[in-house]
Protein backbone atom coordinates (compact mmCIF):
# COMPACT_ATOMS: atom_id res chain seq x y z
CA UNK A 1 0.00 0.00 0.00
CA UNK A 2 1.21 3.40 -1.00
CA UNK A 3 2.43 6.29 1.06
CA UNK A 4 1.82 9.52 -0.78
CA UNK A 5 2.25 13.28 -0.57
CA UNK A 6 -0.10 14.99 -2.99
CA UNK A 7 0.43 18.73 -3.58
CA UNK A 8 1.09 19.26 0.14
CA UNK A 9 1.68 22.74 1.50
CA UNK A 10 2.38 23.78 5.07
CA UNK A 11 3.38 27.09 6.65
CA UNK A 12 4.43 28.32 10.08
CA UNK A 13 2.48 31.56 10.40
CA UNK A 14 3.43 33.47 7.26
CA UNK A 15 6.60 31.44 6.63
CA UNK A 16 6.11 28.65 4.07
CA UNK A 17 7.73 25.33 5.07
CA UNK A 18 6.49 23.16 2.18
CA UNK A 19 4.92 24.32 -1.08
CA UNK A 20 3.06 21.95 -3.39
CA UNK A 21 5.18 18.90 -2.53
CA UNK A 22 4.27 15.59 -4.18
CA UNK A 23 5.94 12.19 -4.02
CA UNK A 24 5.04 8.53 -3.62
CA UNK A 25 6.80 5.88 -1.56
CA UNK A 26 6.18 2.35 -2.86
CA UNK A 27 6.36 -0.60 -0.49
CA UNK A 28 9.87 -1.95 0.19
CA UNK A 29 11.77 1.17 -0.88
CA UNK A 30 14.24 3.15 1.23
CA UNK A 31 13.70 6.82 0.45
CA UNK A 32 15.90 9.69 1.59
CA UNK A 33 14.49 13.17 2.03
CA UNK A 34 17.68 15.13 1.49
CA UNK A 35 18.05 18.80 2.25
CA UNK A 36 19.81 21.42 4.31
CA UNK A 37 18.61 22.42 7.78
CA UNK A 38 15.31 24.26 7.46
CA UNK A 39 14.56 22.82 4.01
CA UNK A 40 11.28 21.28 5.23
CA UNK A 41 12.30 17.64 5.79
CA UNK A 42 11.19 17.40 9.44
CA UNK A 43 7.91 19.13 8.58
CA UNK A 44 7.35 16.48 5.91
CA UNK A 45 8.02 13.70 8.45
CA UNK A 46 5.65 15.34 10.98
CA UNK A 47 2.94 15.48 8.29
CA UNK A 48 3.51 11.81 7.41
CA UNK A 49 3.08 10.91 11.09
CA UNK A 50 -0.07 12.99 11.54
CA UNK A 51 1.67 15.32 14.04
CA UNK A 52 0.77 18.19 11.72
CA UNK A 53 -2.04 18.64 9.21
CA UNK A 54 -1.38 20.06 5.75
CA UNK A 55 -2.78 23.52 4.93
CA UNK A 56 -3.58 22.15 1.49
CA UNK A 57 -3.09 18.88 -0.38
CA UNK A 58 -3.34 15.41 1.13
CA UNK A 59 -1.11 12.92 2.91
CA UNK A 60 -1.74 9.17 2.67
CA UNK A 61 0.18 6.62 4.72
CA UNK A 62 -0.13 2.92 3.84
CA UNK A 63 -3.33 3.66 1.96
CA UNK A 64 -5.10 5.74 4.62
CA UNK A 65 -4.86 8.79 6.87
CA UNK A 66 -1.56 9.04 8.82
CA UNK A 67 -3.33 8.87 12.18
CA UNK A 68 -4.93 5.53 11.32
CA UNK A 69 -1.57 3.99 10.40
CA UNK A 70 -0.02 5.27 13.65
CA UNK A 71 -2.96 4.11 15.81
CA UNK A 72 -2.83 0.66 14.20
CA UNK A 73 0.88 0.36 15.00
CA UNK A 74 1.77 0.02 11.31
CA UNK A 75 4.45 2.70 11.42
CA UNK A 76 7.43 3.31 13.64
CA UNK A 77 9.20 6.61 14.06
CA UNK A 78 12.49 7.96 15.29
CA UNK A 79 11.99 11.69 15.72
CA UNK A 80 14.73 14.29 15.70
CA UNK A 81 12.96 15.96 18.65
CA UNK A 82 11.92 12.74 20.39
CA UNK A 83 13.32 12.77 23.92
CA UNK A 84 13.50 9.95 26.44
CA UNK A 85 12.47 9.94 30.13
CA UNK A 86 15.71 10.22 32.09
CA UNK A 87 14.54 8.40 35.23
CA UNK A 88 13.64 5.20 33.36
CA UNK A 89 15.92 2.31 32.47
CA UNK A 90 16.52 1.14 28.91
CA UNK A 91 14.67 -2.10 29.67
CA UNK A 92 11.60 -0.26 31.00
CA UNK A 93 11.38 1.99 27.92
CA UNK A 94 11.75 -0.89 25.47
CA UNK A 95 9.26 -3.01 27.45
CA UNK A 96 6.74 -0.16 27.27
CA UNK A 97 7.25 0.24 23.53
CA UNK A 98 6.74 -3.50 23.03
CA UNK A 99 3.58 -3.45 25.15
CA UNK A 100 2.04 -0.53 23.23
CA UNK A 101 2.01 -2.41 19.91
CA UNK A 102 -0.45 -5.24 19.31
CA UNK A 103 1.78 -7.17 16.89
CA UNK A 104 5.02 -7.05 18.78
CA UNK A 105 8.50 -8.35 19.25
CA UNK A 106 9.59 -9.44 22.73
CA UNK A 107 11.57 -6.97 24.82
CA UNK A 108 14.63 -9.24 24.75
CA UNK A 109 14.44 -9.48 20.95
CA UNK A 110 14.24 -5.70 20.52
CA UNK A 111 17.09 -5.08 22.99
CA UNK A 112 19.18 -7.55 21.04
CA UNK A 113 18.31 -6.08 17.61
CA UNK A 114 19.13 -2.56 18.79
CA UNK A 115 22.39 -3.63 20.45
CA UNK A 116 21.19 -2.60 23.91
CA UNK A 117 21.49 -5.84 25.89
CA UNK A 118 24.61 -4.72 27.74
CA UNK A 119 23.07 -1.43 28.91
CA UNK A 120 19.49 -2.59 29.55
CA UNK A 121 19.65 -1.92 33.31
CA UNK A 122 21.07 1.59 32.88
CA UNK A 123 19.00 4.73 33.30
CA UNK A 124 18.76 6.96 30.24
CA UNK A 125 20.76 9.77 31.82
CA UNK A 126 23.74 7.38 32.14
CA UNK A 127 23.82 6.62 28.39
CA UNK A 128 26.01 8.13 25.69
CA UNK A 129 24.44 10.04 22.77
CA UNK A 130 24.82 7.04 20.49
CA UNK A 131 23.22 4.69 23.02
CA UNK A 132 20.28 7.06 23.46
CA UNK A 133 19.80 7.08 19.70
CA UNK A 134 19.74 3.27 19.75
CA UNK A 135 17.02 3.39 22.43
CA UNK A 136 14.98 5.69 20.14
CA UNK A 137 15.52 3.24 17.31
CA UNK A 138 14.40 0.35 19.56
CA UNK A 139 11.17 2.25 20.34
CA UNK A 140 10.62 2.88 16.62
CA UNK A 141 10.93 -0.76 15.57
CA UNK A 142 9.40 -2.46 18.63
CA UNK A 143 6.11 -3.12 16.89
CA UNK A 144 7.49 -4.65 13.67
CA UNK A 145 6.25 -1.65 11.64
CA UNK A 146 5.60 -1.91 7.94
CA UNK A 147 6.97 1.58 7.48
CA UNK A 148 9.76 3.34 9.38
CA UNK A 149 10.16 7.12 9.53
CA UNK A 150 13.60 8.25 10.65
CA UNK A 151 14.23 11.97 11.11
CA UNK A 152 17.98 12.74 11.05
CA UNK A 153 18.65 9.33 12.61
CA UNK A 154 22.45 9.46 12.67
CA UNK A 155 23.00 13.11 13.49
CA UNK A 156 24.66 12.40 16.87
CA UNK A 157 26.59 9.33 15.75
CA UNK A 158 30.20 8.84 14.72
CA UNK A 159 31.12 7.04 11.48
CA UNK A 160 31.28 3.54 13.02
CA UNK A 161 28.01 3.98 14.90
CA UNK A 162 26.34 5.24 11.70
CA UNK A 163 27.35 2.09 9.82
CA UNK A 164 26.09 -0.11 12.67
CA UNK A 165 22.83 1.80 12.79
CA UNK A 166 22.19 1.37 9.07
CA UNK A 167 23.13 -2.31 9.21
CA UNK A 168 20.36 -2.75 11.83
CA UNK A 169 17.84 -0.78 9.75
CA UNK A 170 18.58 -2.72 6.57
CA UNK A 171 18.32 -6.04 8.45
CA UNK A 172 14.68 -5.24 9.25
CA UNK A 173 13.73 -5.07 5.57
CA UNK A 174 11.02 -2.43 6.06
CA UNK A 175 9.94 0.42 3.86
CA UNK A 176 11.96 3.35 5.19
CA UNK A 177 11.63 7.10 4.77
CA UNK A 178 14.50 9.02 6.33
CA UNK A 179 15.32 12.69 6.50
CA UNK A 180 18.98 13.60 6.33
CA UNK A 181 21.32 16.42 5.44
CA UNK A 182 24.19 14.00 4.74
CA UNK A 183 24.61 13.49 0.98
CA UNK A 184 26.86 10.46 1.51
CA UNK A 185 24.25 8.82 3.77
CA UNK A 186 21.51 9.27 1.17
CA UNK A 187 23.87 8.01 -1.53
CA UNK A 188 24.90 4.90 0.40
CA UNK A 189 21.66 3.73 1.99
CA UNK A 190 18.72 5.04 -0.07
CA UNK A 191 17.15 3.42 -3.14
CA UNK A 192 15.77 6.81 -4.03
CA UNK A 193 16.61 10.39 -3.09
CA UNK A 194 14.13 13.26 -2.93
CA UNK A 195 15.98 16.58 -2.67
CA UNK A 196 14.05 19.31 -0.85
CA UNK A 197 15.13 22.91 -0.98
CA UNK A 198 13.22 25.83 0.54
CA UNK A 199 10.11 23.68 0.92
CA UNK A 200 10.03 22.40 -2.66
CA UNK A 201 11.12 19.16 -4.32
CA UNK A 202 13.95 20.02 -6.70
CA UNK A 203 14.97 16.45 -7.62
CA UNK A 204 13.61 12.92 -7.27
CA UNK A 205 15.49 9.86 -8.50
CA UNK A 206 18.09 7.22 -7.76
CA UNK A 207 21.24 8.35 -5.90
CA UNK A 208 23.20 8.06 -9.15
CA UNK A 209 20.65 10.16 -11.08
CA UNK A 210 20.61 12.86 -8.41
CA UNK A 211 24.40 13.00 -8.13
CA UNK A 212 24.73 13.11 -11.93
CA UNK A 213 22.27 16.00 -12.36
CA UNK A 214 24.40 19.04 -13.23
CA UNK A 215 21.61 21.47 -12.33
CA UNK A 216 21.81 20.26 -8.69
CA UNK A 217 25.55 20.77 -8.36
CA UNK A 218 25.25 23.93 -6.31
CA UNK A 219 22.70 22.47 -3.86
CA UNK A 220 24.63 19.21 -3.41
CA UNK A 221 27.96 20.97 -2.84
CA UNK A 222 26.27 23.05 -0.15
CA UNK A 223 25.00 19.85 1.52
CA UNK A 224 28.43 18.21 1.35
CA UNK A 225 30.07 21.29 2.87
CA UNK A 226 27.33 21.62 5.48
CA UNK A 227 27.81 18.04 6.59
CA UNK A 228 31.56 18.52 7.07
Amino acid sequence: METRFDQVSYRYGSVPALTGVSFTVPSGQTVALLGANGAGKSTAVDLLLGLKRPRSGSVTVLGGPPHDAVAAGRVGALLQTGGLPTDSTVHEIVALACALYGKRRTTAEVLDLAGLKEVRRRKVDALSGGQKQRVRFAVAMAGEPELLFLDEPTVALDFKARRQFWRSVKALGNTVVFATHYLDEADEYADRVIVIDKGQVIADGSPAQVKGDKSLEHALVALTEGAE
Partner: protein, 216 residues
Protein backbone atom coordinates in the same frame (compact mmCIF):
# COMPACT_ATOMS: atom_id res chain seq x y z
CA UNK B 1 -3.11 1.94 29.39
CA UNK B 2 -2.09 -0.48 32.17
CA UNK B 3 1.40 -0.93 30.68
CA UNK B 4 1.77 2.83 30.39
CA UNK B 5 0.57 3.50 33.97
CA UNK B 6 2.95 0.79 35.25
CA UNK B 7 5.82 2.38 33.33
CA UNK B 8 5.05 5.81 34.78
CA UNK B 9 4.74 4.49 38.36
CA UNK B 10 8.16 2.77 38.06
CA UNK B 11 9.59 5.95 36.63
CA UNK B 12 8.28 7.98 39.58
CA UNK B 13 9.63 5.46 42.09
CA UNK B 14 13.12 5.85 40.52
CA UNK B 15 12.94 9.58 41.20
CA UNK B 16 14.93 10.37 44.34
CA UNK B 17 13.40 13.87 44.68
CA UNK B 18 9.92 12.31 44.76
CA UNK B 19 10.94 9.80 47.45
CA UNK B 20 12.54 12.49 49.63
CA UNK B 21 9.86 15.14 49.17
CA UNK B 22 6.64 13.14 49.47
CA UNK B 23 7.65 9.96 51.34
CA UNK B 24 10.58 10.72 53.66
CA UNK B 25 9.79 14.34 54.60
CA UNK B 26 6.20 13.85 55.84
CA UNK B 27 7.34 10.85 57.90
CA UNK B 28 10.16 12.89 59.45
CA UNK B 29 7.78 15.77 60.22
CA UNK B 30 5.32 13.34 61.78
CA UNK B 31 7.97 11.85 64.05
CA UNK B 32 9.04 15.36 65.12
CA UNK B 33 5.49 16.64 65.86
CA UNK B 34 3.80 13.38 66.85
CA UNK B 35 3.43 14.41 70.50
CA UNK B 36 0.82 16.98 69.49
CA UNK B 37 -1.68 14.16 68.85
CA UNK B 38 -3.48 12.26 66.05
CA UNK B 39 -4.15 15.47 64.12
CA UNK B 40 -0.49 15.45 63.04
CA UNK B 41 -0.92 12.06 61.35
CA UNK B 42 -3.96 13.35 59.43
CA UNK B 43 -2.05 16.52 58.46
CA UNK B 44 1.02 14.63 57.27
CA UNK B 45 -1.15 12.16 55.32
CA UNK B 46 -2.62 15.22 53.57
CA UNK B 47 0.92 16.58 53.01
CA UNK B 48 1.94 13.29 51.34
CA UNK B 49 -1.29 13.04 49.31
CA UNK B 50 -1.14 16.65 48.11
CA UNK B 51 2.59 16.58 47.31
CA UNK B 52 2.52 13.32 45.39
CA UNK B 53 -0.80 14.17 43.75
CA UNK B 54 0.32 17.57 42.47
CA UNK B 55 3.89 16.69 41.55
CA UNK B 56 3.67 12.99 40.59
CA UNK B 57 1.99 13.40 37.20
CA UNK B 58 2.33 17.14 36.68
CA UNK B 59 6.11 17.16 36.75
CA UNK B 60 6.52 14.32 34.31
CA UNK B 61 3.99 15.73 31.84
CA UNK B 62 5.82 19.08 31.78
CA UNK B 63 9.17 17.30 31.45
CA UNK B 64 7.90 15.05 28.66
CA UNK B 65 6.59 18.05 26.74
CA UNK B 66 9.94 19.81 27.08
CA UNK B 67 12.13 16.82 26.14
CA UNK B 68 9.98 15.50 23.29
CA UNK B 69 9.05 12.14 24.91
CA UNK B 70 5.38 13.12 24.61
CA UNK B 71 5.85 13.60 20.84
CA UNK B 72 7.50 10.20 20.64
CA UNK B 73 4.55 8.62 22.48
CA UNK B 74 2.17 10.31 20.04
CA UNK B 75 3.62 8.28 17.19
CA UNK B 76 2.93 4.99 18.96
CA UNK B 77 -0.50 3.30 19.19
CA UNK B 78 -1.03 4.79 22.70
CA UNK B 79 -4.18 6.87 22.27
CA UNK B 80 -4.53 10.36 23.76
CA UNK B 81 -7.25 9.10 26.11
CA UNK B 82 -5.16 6.15 27.31
CA UNK B 83 -2.29 8.55 27.92
CA UNK B 84 -4.47 10.88 30.02
CA UNK B 85 -6.01 8.02 31.98
CA UNK B 86 -2.54 6.52 32.51
CA UNK B 87 -1.30 9.81 33.93
CA UNK B 88 -4.25 10.07 36.34
CA UNK B 89 -3.83 6.46 37.49
CA UNK B 90 -0.09 7.07 37.90
CA UNK B 91 -0.83 10.15 40.04
CA UNK B 92 -3.21 8.22 42.31
CA UNK B 93 -0.91 5.20 42.70
CA UNK B 94 2.15 7.29 43.51
CA UNK B 95 0.22 8.89 46.38
CA UNK B 96 0.07 5.52 48.19
CA UNK B 97 3.71 5.09 49.42
CA UNK B 98 3.88 8.44 51.25
CA UNK B 99 0.39 8.19 52.76
CA UNK B 100 0.93 4.58 53.82
CA UNK B 101 4.29 5.36 55.42
CA UNK B 102 2.86 8.29 57.41
CA UNK B 103 -0.22 6.37 58.56
CA UNK B 104 1.75 3.25 59.54
CA UNK B 105 4.22 5.30 61.59
CA UNK B 106 1.29 7.06 63.31
CA UNK B 107 -0.49 3.75 63.93
CA UNK B 108 2.67 2.22 65.39
CA UNK B 109 2.91 5.08 67.90
CA UNK B 110 -0.78 5.77 68.60
CA UNK B 111 -2.51 2.51 67.67
CA UNK B 112 -5.17 3.87 65.28
CA UNK B 113 -7.93 1.33 64.67
CA UNK B 114 -9.24 2.88 61.46
CA UNK B 115 -5.89 3.41 59.72
CA UNK B 116 -6.84 1.55 56.52
CA UNK B 117 -9.80 3.93 56.12
CA UNK B 118 -7.49 6.94 56.55
CA UNK B 119 -5.21 5.59 53.79
CA UNK B 120 -8.22 5.06 51.52
CA UNK B 121 -9.64 8.55 52.22
CA UNK B 122 -6.26 10.24 51.61
CA UNK B 123 -5.63 8.35 48.36
CA UNK B 124 -9.12 8.88 46.92
CA UNK B 125 -9.14 12.45 48.24
CA UNK B 126 -5.93 13.19 46.32
CA UNK B 127 -7.84 13.03 43.01
CA UNK B 128 -8.39 16.82 42.74
CA UNK B 129 -4.67 17.38 43.39
CA UNK B 130 -3.73 14.82 40.74
CA UNK B 131 -6.02 16.59 38.25
CA UNK B 132 -4.59 20.02 39.15
CA UNK B 133 -1.11 18.52 38.62
CA UNK B 134 -2.09 17.15 35.21
CA UNK B 135 -3.57 20.53 34.25
CA UNK B 136 -0.39 22.38 35.31
CA UNK B 137 1.73 19.84 33.42
CA UNK B 138 -0.18 20.56 30.24
CA UNK B 139 0.00 24.32 30.84
CA UNK B 140 3.69 24.79 31.73
CA UNK B 141 6.85 23.24 30.33
CA UNK B 142 9.87 21.79 32.14
CA UNK B 143 11.10 23.53 35.28
CA UNK B 144 8.36 26.18 35.15
CA UNK B 145 5.82 23.49 36.06
CA UNK B 146 7.95 22.30 38.99
CA UNK B 147 8.15 25.85 40.29
CA UNK B 148 4.43 26.56 39.80
CA UNK B 149 3.38 23.28 41.44
CA UNK B 150 5.80 23.74 44.36
CA UNK B 151 4.42 27.23 45.05
CA UNK B 152 0.85 25.90 44.78
CA UNK B 153 1.69 22.99 47.09
CA UNK B 154 3.01 25.23 49.89
CA UNK B 155 0.16 27.72 49.39
CA UNK B 156 -2.46 24.95 49.75
CA UNK B 157 -0.64 23.53 52.78
CA UNK B 158 -0.58 26.96 54.41
CA UNK B 159 -4.10 28.25 53.65
CA UNK B 160 -5.61 24.87 54.53
CA UNK B 161 -3.93 24.86 57.93
CA UNK B 162 -1.91 21.70 57.25
CA UNK B 163 1.23 23.64 58.16
CA UNK B 164 1.39 26.90 60.07
CA UNK B 165 -1.25 26.03 62.65
CA UNK B 166 -4.24 28.17 61.56
CA UNK B 167 -6.69 27.60 58.75
CA UNK B 168 -6.89 30.70 56.54
CA UNK B 169 -9.33 29.40 53.92
CA UNK B 170 -11.81 26.70 54.89
CA UNK B 171 -12.70 26.03 51.24
CA UNK B 172 -9.13 24.90 50.52
CA UNK B 173 -9.15 21.25 49.40
CA UNK B 174 -6.31 20.52 51.81
CA UNK B 175 -8.46 21.69 54.73
CA UNK B 176 -11.35 19.47 53.63
CA UNK B 177 -9.11 16.43 53.25
CA UNK B 178 -7.47 17.04 56.63
CA UNK B 179 -10.88 17.44 58.23
CA UNK B 180 -12.00 14.08 56.78
CA UNK B 181 -8.81 12.46 58.05
CA UNK B 182 -9.25 13.83 61.55
CA UNK B 183 -12.84 12.55 61.69
CA UNK B 184 -11.68 9.10 60.56
CA UNK B 185 -8.99 8.91 63.25
CA UNK B 186 -11.40 10.15 65.93
CA UNK B 187 -13.94 7.47 64.85
CA UNK B 188 -16.49 10.20 64.12
CA UNK B 189 -18.94 10.09 61.21
CA UNK B 190 -17.69 11.76 58.02
CA UNK B 191 -19.37 15.13 57.38
CA UNK B 192 -20.93 16.13 54.08
CA UNK B 193 -19.31 19.60 53.87
CA UNK B 194 -15.69 18.53 53.25
CA UNK B 195 -16.85 15.78 50.89
CA UNK B 196 -18.86 18.26 48.81
CA UNK B 197 -15.99 20.74 48.76
CA UNK B 198 -13.53 18.09 47.55
CA UNK B 199 -16.11 16.98 44.97
CA UNK B 200 -16.42 20.56 43.71
CA UNK B 201 -12.62 20.90 43.43
CA UNK B 202 -12.50 17.60 41.55
CA UNK B 203 -15.14 18.76 39.06
CA UNK B 204 -13.38 22.10 38.53
CA UNK B 205 -9.96 20.48 38.07
CA UNK B 206 -11.39 17.83 35.72
CA UNK B 207 -13.02 20.58 33.63
CA UNK B 208 -9.70 22.43 33.41
CA UNK B 209 -7.93 19.22 32.32
CA UNK B 210 -10.56 18.48 29.67
CA UNK B 211 -10.24 22.00 28.25
CA UNK B 212 -6.48 21.85 28.09
CA UNK B 213 -5.18 18.28 27.65
CA UNK B 214 -5.37 18.01 23.87
CA UNK B 215 -3.12 21.05 23.55
CA UNK B 216 -0.34 19.40 25.62
Amino acid sequence: MIAYAKFEVLRTLHNVRYLVFVVVMPVVFEVIWMKQGPGVTAAMAVYAATGAGLLGSGNTIAEDRATGWLRQLRVTPLSDRAWLLGKIVQGLLTVIPGVLAVVLVGTFAMNFERWPLLVAVAVVGSLPFVLIGVFAGTLFRGKTAVLALSVLFFALMFVGGVIGGETIWSYAPTYSLMSLGQHVLASQPIEAGPLLNLGAWTVLAAAAVLLRWRRA
